[in-house]
């Protein structure tokens, strides 16, 4: 005889159900998996599952020399590749107390800002797509292509740059670099108006993003949400202002702060940052001094034993590299404090009790890059 099983009547809490967003999902922008607990369409809580693209970069670093590590950092946050490279270079240069030539500083600052612009362009493109505006995607990628062309000319690569080396650059910039960069700035100043027309000024977009994913300044600090996401909550956390490196103490630029802390504020920060980045490039592009493109470096780079920490402002926020050296040519321990990792941690907190469509918008506004989380 079959045993009769009495299923208890589900209470309200038990009517919650789970869905898996990811690892393959259009709006997670990579292999992030979010286990979302829903009641109807309302997000009750969510748990991120990372590690689908974990490559053990920190372990790999323990076997690699410092110039080799630069090539790994490209693969971390693949949209701020120059800036990641910059962090390792600065770490080594500061540890060895090498003064890099002025020309290098100019070029690095321009490249970093171009990198920030293209990262924000791609973010804008995919954020528009997350909200259902597919045309944005093509606009963003069209303009980003121009920056990739400029890079291709000078650095030889479109995506994984590895252009900086400890002490300088791989090779000098292309003779047309300045001309093409200025042409791009002129072009993009016109095109960014289109961005504002098609998305920023759209009623549906503003209604979708206003008062969604509210994050106070205290929460942003506690969760370590840096970069444009943190500045959207009014937290002045720009490493370029607070711990200047390269030429950021010489150029004039504003740190964009918005106080609202919602998705729209985070969006506006990034839009305004594109203008600021263009402003920085404009100040530098005509004044690149002549000189060497690299300082004299030893063939084998060994850092003196000790601990080093280097912070830079990547397109996503505060990128930190913590390095313990025992005097060898490879680091003893290398830790990357990546901005997306900390930014992800607040996703659960700010998307509770909102609709699943809002979750997608919030995830887009935090601008997560999954390899940056997993490393």
């Amino acid at each position: 005889m079959k045993e009769v099983i009495h299923t208890p009547v589900p209470s309200v809490e038990e009517e919650e159900y789970h869905i898996n967003m990811g690892p393959q999902h259009p709006s997670t922008h990579g292999v992030l998996r979010l286990v979302v607990t829903l009641q109807g369409e309302i997000v009750m809580k969510l748990k991120p599952h990372c590690g689908y693209i974990h490559r053990g970069m920190e372990k790999m670093c323990e076997k690699d020399t410092y110039p080799q590590i630069i090539h790994l950092t490209d693969r971390m946050d693949y949209l701020s590749m120059h800036i990641n490279n910059h962090a390792v270079c600065l770490l080594v240069e500061n540890a060895l107390q090498i003064e890099v030539p002025e020309r290098v500083k100019y070029i690095r600052t321009i490249m970093d800002e171009l990198c920030r612009i293209q990262s924000h362009q791609l973010w804008w493109a995919s954020f528009g797509m997350d909200l259902g505006g597919l045309t944005c995607f093509f606009y963003g990628l069209r303009d980003r292509e121009k920056i990739l062309d400029i890079w291709e000319e000078s650095t030889g690569a479109r995506f994984l740059q590895s252009y900086y080396t400890p002490g300088g650059l791989m090779w000098d910039i292309h003779p047309d670099f300045q001309k093409h960069t200025k042409e791009f700035l002129k072009y993009f100043k016109k095109k960014i108006r289109d961005y504002e027309k098609i998305l920023s000024g759209n009623v549906i977009f503003r209604e979708r993003s206003r008062n969604i994913g509210l994050m106070t300044k205290e929460e942003a600090i506690s969760y370590g949400v840096t970069g444009p996401s943190g500045r959207g909550s009014g937290w002045s956390c720009d490493v370029r202002k607070h711990h200047p490196y390269a030429l950021y103490d010489k150029v004039e630029f504003k740190e964009i702060l918005y106080q609202e802390g919602d998705t729209l504020a985070r969006y506006m920060v990034r839009m305004d940052e594109m203008y600021e980045s263009m402003h920085i490039i404009e100040q530098l592009i005509d004044n690149i001094p002549e000189g060497d493109f690299s300082a004299k470096m030893k063939a084998v780079i060994k850092l003196p034993a000790g601990e080093y920490y280097q912070r830079v402002e990547s397109a996503r926020g505060d990128l930190g590299i913590y390095c313990i050296s025992d005097g060898n040519k490879t680091p003893y321990r290398m830790k990357f404090r990546t901005p997306s990792f900390s930014n992800l941690s607040i996703l659960d907190h700010i998307s509770r009790n909102l609709k699943i469509a809002d979750l997608v918008a919030i995830g887009g506004s935090l601008d997560l890059v999954i390899p940056d989380i997993d490393r």
């Binding site: 990372c50 590690g51 370590g224 937290w235 601990e307 930190g320 313990i324 321990r333």
Partner: protein
């Protein structure tokens, strides 16, 4: 606050802390048992006000396991480094700080995942990157993996 004053202020708040010389930041070793109290005081005290944990990393130093806390004050602009260590390699454990800085929740999960250091009172201490049934802790120096790590 200049570094000398900061050092003295921290030592008055936490007399047990050991100062480490010649570092980039003001660095202290804190006894493992005092970690939670120390961090709490450092955050709440008005002269230190370390409200931003900008990096938390674990390290296998060979003799001992170490967790490093990089703290910054967003109001006052100064930074400090706290370290805790344990020589227990079988069952290392520290108090969690994720009730003080929420960002520590993920960082501690990462450290648990890769170094096997447990954090007491952590709300959700699971592996973050690796499989639940992964054997060993890859960032430890004595970790052996003949399949994935090629020795030269």
């Amino acid at each position: 606050m200049d570094l000398e004053k900061l050092k003295e202020r921290v030592l008055t708040l936490v007399p047990e802390a050991e100062f480490e010389e010649n570092k980039q930041f003001v660095t202290f070793f804190v006894p493992a048992g005092k970690l939670h109290v120390t961090t709490m005081r450092l955050k709440d005290d008005e002269d230190t006000a370390f409200d931003y944990l900008f990096c938390q990393s674990g390290t296998d130093m060979g003799k001992y396991l170490m967790v490093v806390y990089h703290l910054e004050s967003t109001k006052l602009g100064h930074a400090i480094v706290l370290k805790v260590k344990t020589e227990d390699r079988e069952n290392p454990a520290f108090d969690t700080v994720c009730d003080i800085w929420r960002t520590a929740e993920f960082h501690e999960r990462e450290i648990f995942d890769l170094l096997g250091i447990r954090f007491n009172n952590h709300p959700d201490l699971r592996r973050l990157f690796l499989d639940e049934n992964w054997v060993g802790y890859p960032l430890r120096k004595d970790y052996k993996d003949e399949v994935n790590i090629v020795e030269f």
